[in-house]
Symmetry: C2
Subunit: 320 residues, 2 copies
Amino acid sequence: MSETDATINLVAVVITIRDRTPHVLTVPGPDGRPALPSGPLQSGHRTLQSGLRAWVERQTRQKLGYVEQLYTFGDRHVRLENTAPDMAHRTISIAYLALVSGSDEVNSAESSWRSWYEFFPWEDHRGGRPKSCDRLFEALLDWTTDGSAAGDPNAKERARLTFGVGGAEWDEEMTLERYEMLYEAEKVVEASLDRDLAPWRAQEDLPGLPMHADHRRVLATAISRLRAKIKYRPLLFELMPPSFTLFQLQQTAEAISGIALHKQNFRRLVAQQRLVEETGEALSLTGGRPAKLVRFRKEVMLERPAPGVRVRATRRGGLT
Amino acid sequence: MSETDATINLVAVVITIRDRTPHVLTVPGPDGRPALPSGPLQSGHRTLQSGLRAWVERQTRQKLGYVEQLYTFGDRHVRLENTAPDMAHRTISIAYLALVSGSDEVNSAESSWRSWYEFFPWEDHRGGRPKSCDRLFEALLDWTTDGSAAGDPNAKERARLTFGVGGAEWDEEMTLERYEMLYEAEKVVEASLDRDLAPWRAQEDLPGLPMHADHRRVLATAISRLRAKIKYRPLLFELMPPSFTLFQLQQTAEAISGIALHKQNFRRLVAQQRLVEETGEALSLTGGRPAKLVRFRKEVMLERPAPGVRVRATRRGGLT
DNA sequence: ATCTCAATGCTCAGATCGAGCAAAAGGAGG
DNA sequence: CCTCCTTTTGCTCGATCTGAGCATTGAGAT
């Protein structure tokens, strides 16, 4: 029972928008599963953030723009049971969220951008609630009666609330809670892996690609944070090119939130918050009336304490 | 430039309510300034949280209830400039926020509860904007013209926004931003200490007690988080006894937020959110009509996705 | 019985929000 | 040049929420 030093592992969730879909930067993990860029803190790193930037650039050649700290994970999930506790070497992972807009460039063999909905198909409700979401919820209900949660009388209620079933509304911000509940119920591949130490069985018909170690949990943390934060901070603009149309902005908001938005209300929102200003140019790509190009009004940061896009899902699937 | 291990320091911001004022648990720091309970992660600690709980209990005999992670601080602020960078030993501090309700018990010579407004007098706006707030803002304005921020044309605007002066509204959640701006402007004692390595000069007529190392920044982080989070999570009840009156709940909300609330609207809020239920008893202490006792309705956690007390300041000082 | 004080109940106007109708402005096809 | 199609943009309406203040209730004190 003595003081021990630990290795600091810096982990990056780097997000960009491609094809109206959020993508996360991944590298090949040691076991074949995709991993997040990461590396240990080194003595040459001036700060935690600069260490993170160095690792991401080295592993993916991607330069980072906006960066914020997400969460620090202990090594609770690393199983070293046959090691004497005093001998166990500790690793602490500090996870960061980064946003980049000009991602279209490189995509080496080493690293690749992947839609975050590959890992969380049940989180994409833009075209209505996906089937995988209902299937997962059903599996979860079985677990609340037969599984390890059979003793908990509230388990069923909690599942309904987190998945927005039966009266409860879908809350897009609860990505992390949903993942953790699925993990507990062993409805994600990583859970059985961590328990059994068994080799990765890709089948299981469980939806969503697994990731290396606890990286899918880290990604879920990032999604939750991002979905919550765009509502009161102008983070969306970190993902946009210098000038864009309001509809492109809306599509970015929808991509991140995973829900469909009401077009007219969306523009009313950004208009009355004065988040953008017109560039004077217009863009006619879509075969309809040309859209005015706008850019982010940086001055809002000096005017409103909490500028953001307070998205709310449309009742109907956002068809109009 | 090689991988280096680091010492993990666990820091606790433990909050309770006493005398309608938030108090933070402190221990004497090495330099006489109050410090937050803290200690290094040890090999016997199963998780980060359990390590934290162990240290707080050992140093203050206070058992912790609700605990959540706040932020992880690098050692950027530790000055080791005459040390070769490769030799510098790193310390990473992981800060936690903890809430306790039954604090009235122990208060050894070692540790003591202190009002958090001793450290942040300018943050208490319950009785109107305090003079120290205006004084600080004036000092900040000087800095934006004469000081190191003279080059930044937005510095004045940012100061106005963060301190709620001139059109801008006071945003009680911006405690951390305010502290960081004051630190940058060297309007808090710690800033000059960190720069000059000079002994602590208690005078300076700068408002607010300094704390050990960067602990006042950590406390500011906790206040910001808490003030934001009570609006969408039922954290207030972690600070309340099992049964209480609505007015006591309001006073707790006011103590945390540092703003006065409109009484009737406050009860409408908690009523229509169904956050509490009546116990059947009543309490007549105040010389007026006896107040009904209520308790937290734990079931709300299973009904609403984000139950909380969305406080907003009254225009007038909350006199009625 | 009356007074005082705090708890509780209620109303009202303004702001915000979800939803949908309708006009405007280009391109494509005749 | 006119018409149709498509998407942008403007606007309205009702429901809900919010800030603020007035009024009533219920207990102890005078």
